[in-house]
Symmetry: C2
Subunit: 302 residues, 2 copies
């Protein structure tokens, strides 16, 4: 069961010829999720050969253009290519109207249903959950209401020692309870789940934080995730700019990663003034070693 | 005095990895004009090294997304890069609200003024005129109100034979009238403009027609232009699709070019189903020989 993050855009507000504005494609246990959708996202999706009709969930962090100006174009193209399957969009209040006004101005509509779910300011909770994945959101601290997201690949069912269970007389109707981690009492005997099953791998988590200034609450929200994408628009020498615009530095991102004990840190949303991520890595590594600055098109397995 | 057209996007509604949606950059006698602004236009402008703060006039043909979804992002970037110089935008009613609602949703504004001029349905006239250029608009026939545009580089001032004029006693204060083509009567003598000046080259015209079905009125509007860009979304074997969607075929584009006696025809807005323009050229050439199917990034001198 795969769990990967493809960076479609790693740039900030001003796109460069190297970095598109923010967008990520997350594949998690056959669920296909788009996080943010800056201008040009549909072109990036096409260039990278991703099948975008598979996308069923779109999460929009906030209403700055570099995080959603590509959404209306993506939805239009899904329609033109014959989509009928509904789509779920989670984003700030106001997003629905901005998108649908543009769709209607073109004189038409969409052949598929969109379910818009509004994320209220400063709120948190579960956006979506099924047997295999869970998506949480939590507040970030930026100039407009902004949400971060955690995508969890759930603990898989434990693997059953079928031969042993059969030999010891465990009934087939009890197998699913043992695999779910329950112990069974049957005809006076106790069958421990751990005697008849083994772990099928741990729960895995990916967290997305962009855009935000450093805030202790964010650390709490991303505690222990395996992979953290955190914006690092500036370096410490532009602390004034970071404060004024409510963005983070590479140092901030590393501090969050360290305090939250994450597995690995990806830094993105780099200001157009930086030609590459070298200085970001130099600033972050003394605080948190396992970090990277992705390029557009890079894929990370969680 | 240069006059050139740079194709920023030659594709139709569904962008491909080869063709961006519609946008063109026109340079005419130091005036810098953008025609249409599909998604990703600002990234194309940057990749081609065009100085986009120079753009002072933006013409939007109609409110289908592949012709304007990139406008709000371009304006945002102009703002972020410090623009203070006002900009003129000409487009269909409703455009202003769609753009400004998105700008305001981001919690900010723009540091420069936009003057939006609405092009009423089925109307035509002069949008802009100064000493060097003129921009006209005229109605096209599509599913929503759509305008075509003609950009004219005006006849340059005639070149004066200064020695001859001096020798024959023409007063310096009459020079500009002779250069403008006027004859002068002075102290009983007549000085003919054509005796004292020569042509400095002809008036040049570029016309843009996208999106539209074939219509005799369009032929009238683009009569005799030096360069015509005409949409050719389909080929004749998809005539039904062309009729249903109010688009043109390569045959239609060639017919307009021939009937309007234009200098050269560029065909664009090719449906994503066509990998290249070969079949379009085969269909158009028997009707109108001097034609081309541009690629994104191509530059044409008018």
């Amino acid at each position: 069961m795969s769990f990967s993050v493809t960076i479609l855009g790693s740039g900030a507000a001003i796109p460069t010829s190297q970095r598109n504005p923010t967008a990520q494609y997350v594949q998690c246990s056959e669920r296909h999720i788009l996080i943010d959708c800056g201008e040009g996202t549909q072109i990036q999706i096409r260039k990278l050969g991703i099948k975008f009709q598979r996308i069923n969930y779109i999460l929009i962090s906030h209403l700055h253009g570099d995080h959603y100006f590509g959404l209306v174009g993506l939805l239009s193209t899904m329609h033109l290519l014959g989509r009928e399957k509904p789509i779920q969009i989670y984003g700030p209040p106001g997003l629905k109207e901005l998108i649908m006004n543009q769709i209607h101005a073109g004189g038409g509509g969409l052949a598929f249903e969109i379910s818009f779910v509004e994320l209220e300011k400063d709120s948190s909770g579960v956006l979506f959950e099924d047997a295999k994945i869970k998506i949480n959101y939590f507040p970030l601290s930026h100039r407009v209401p902004t949400s971060g997201f955690v995508i969890t690949q759930k603990v898989k069912e434990r693997r059953l020692f079928a031969d042993k269970a059969k030999r010891d007389g465990v009934k087939i109707e009890h197998y699913h309870r043992l695999k779910a981690g329950e112990d069974i009492e049957f005809e006076g005997k106790i069958f421990l789940s751990e005697d008849y099953t083994e772990s099928n791998g741990p729960e895995l988590k990916y967290a997305f934080c962009s855009d935000t200034e450093y805030m202790p609450n964010v650390v709490e929200s991303v505690k222990g995730v395996d992979l953290l994408y955190h914006e690092a628009t500036f370096l410490e020498n532009l602390r004034d700019r970071a404060i004024a615009t409510k963005h983070s530095t590479a140092g901030d991102a590393a501090k969050v990663a360290k305090e939250a004990s994450v597995g690995k840190l990806l830094m993105g949303h780099l200001s157009a003034r930086y030609e590459n991520g070298e200085s970001h890595l130099e600033e972050a590594r003394p605080v948190f070693e396992n970090c990277a600055v992705p390029e557009d098109g890079d894929v990370f397995v969680v």
